[in-house]
């Protein structure tokens, strides 16, 4: 069974999530990843959605379009206010957060604000941070899910909307963020981590059939490589069937 890019990201993203944890899930692929993990290997995972939703049960075929609407809150266990929802993360209750973005740099910082050098005169105005900056600042571990393209993987983002390791080394710590950070970047080509000293992005695993050359070609900065670069397990028929049942209209699976 061949997986689309979104299916690959949802499956690989779901496998990162352990049982007995909590995850901040945005709409689209992150929510599908969390719902799949919950059905397969992490039944004691709680989803939290930034519109102020704790523990929803997503209705197959009625996937939410925004984080702040009735579809997102379907059969939820609690509807706190938005500010209080984020404060659960500031207190330390949120294990994982998912993110994506227009630009990602070698230290994992993400830009979803503006393209161009002057914020006030942007070449392209993007929608903005929403809760991404808060998720990047406050969750225990952040996972980036993204299509792997050279125009996205830039040496330095035009604008740091969501901080990962900033300029590398202990820059995050010095900025006042003594915890959290991006642990993994899951892309359509492979899985990436960060060197614990320099906090530069490192190739950890390739998806089956993908070469190191392909990854280098699609990355706008020099990548570190793990001593042993693993090969990921492709999405199973089981995983794909469950995923497709959640989004029968293929609104987010492409």
């Amino acid at each position: 069974m061949n997986a689309t890019a979104s299916e690959l990201l949802a499956v690989q993203g779901s496998r990162v999530l352990r049982d007995d944890t909590t995850v901040f899930a945005g709409v689209g692929v992150p929510l599908l990843a969390a719902a799949l993990a919950q059905q397969r290997h992490a039944p004691k995972l709680t989803m939290v959605i930034e519109g102020g939703i704790i523990g929803p049960r997503i209705k197959p075929g009625r996937l939410p379009i925004s984080t702040n609407e009735m579809r997102a809150g379907h059969r939820a266990q609690m509807l706190p206010g938005i500010t209080d929802t984020f404060l659960f993360a500031q207190r330390g209750f949120l294990d994982y957060g998912f993110m994506g973005g227009a630009q990602i740099d070698q230290h994992g910082n993400v830009n979803t604000s503006v393209l161009g050098v002057d914020y006030w005169k942007p070449k392209v105005r993007l929608p903005g941070t929403g809760g991404a900056n808060d998720i990047a600042s406050l969750c225990k571990e952040v996972i980036i899910l993204t299509v792997h393209e050279k125009r996205r993987f830039v040496p330095r983002v035009d604008f740091v909307t969501s901080p990962a390791w900033l300029d590398g080394g202990d820059a995050r710590r010095r900025a006042g963020l003594p915890f959290g950070g991006v642990s993994r970047v899951v892309t359509t080509l492979g899985i990436f981590g960060f060197d614990p000293e320099t906090r530069r992005m490192r190739l950890d695993a390739l998806h089956p059939g993908v070469t190191r050359e392909q990854v280098r070609e699609q990355t706008g900065f020099p990548l570190l490589e793990a001593a042993t670069v693993a090969v990921t397990e492709p999405p199973s028929a089981d995983e794909l069937a469950m995923l497709r049942a959640l989004d029968p209209e293929r609104r987010f699976l492409g």
């Binding site: 609407e69 914020y119 105005r125 929608p127 903005g128 900056n133 600042s137």
Partner: protein
Amino acid sequence: MGDPALRPAEWDFVAARRRLEDKPKSAGEKLTSIDAAAGHVADGDRIAVGGCLFSRTPLALVREVLRARRRGLTLVRNLMCTEGELMMAAGAVERVMTAWMSIGLPWGVSKVMRHYVESGAVALEEWSHLALGLRFRAAAMGVPFVPALTMLGSDLVAVGGMKTVADPYSGETLAAVPALFPDVALLHVHRADRFGNCQIDGYPHMDADIARAAATVLVTTEELITDDETRRHPDRTVLPGFLVDALVHVPFGSFPHECYGLYEADFDHFSEYTASIDARGPEAAVGDYLVRYVYGPPTWDDYLDLFGGERLAKQQRSAKELTQ
């Protein structure tokens, strides 16, 4: 226009408190007409809009502010949707303060926002979602800032002019998220009595903090209840009547946005609206939309007639399915 400096009126907690002390805080009648309610908004005001994205947006009030042809407004809303686009295209706002603006993933990045912000006609001052929530919360608490652990190290700090503060106990660096005291709050709720005691079902969003933060509070309600009903379920009241300045009874007051449990957002309407923008560009398409939906129909009932009863009933059924 694009200066990053915080304006002192945003965080001046002493001035904001004096303004409230000088204001009547009546337990009396708050019911009024929609145009009288919108009459509380002046040119140049900083207005905060309740709800979030396309959920419980006070669209009847937004429409009336636009009909009054207000100018030079600063619009504050954590996530902005079509109401922000209408305000931009109408020339009502010169600055928006938000964490995110567009309708939602299926409709892509807002072309209206891109047009007005990239051309410099409107300044978009971006804060993180939590930071905006804490700005309202600090104001609701009556203090000039609250310490927090968000936005640190990011380029958002310079955009909004946020400062940091050293924790007097541990020495750690903290974000000093500044209060934001709006001149006026526009809110839509599920039910209220004539004295302005308001109840909200489902997502509370940031409405309770926004109402406490603002100098003037204008509310529309889906349902008007009796004083006796309020007193039977006082635990459900989220806004006490004494902080509400004007209340208007407006069923479907958020449509085509959603109201939890009552009606789902009209996604087909969003698609028709964005298709017209794709075809004709933001100025022409939204300009015509304003004539058809805002300046044209004299009353909210006339406005709802443009959608038709069948469409409203369908969205009501859909909401029931999702929340029961």
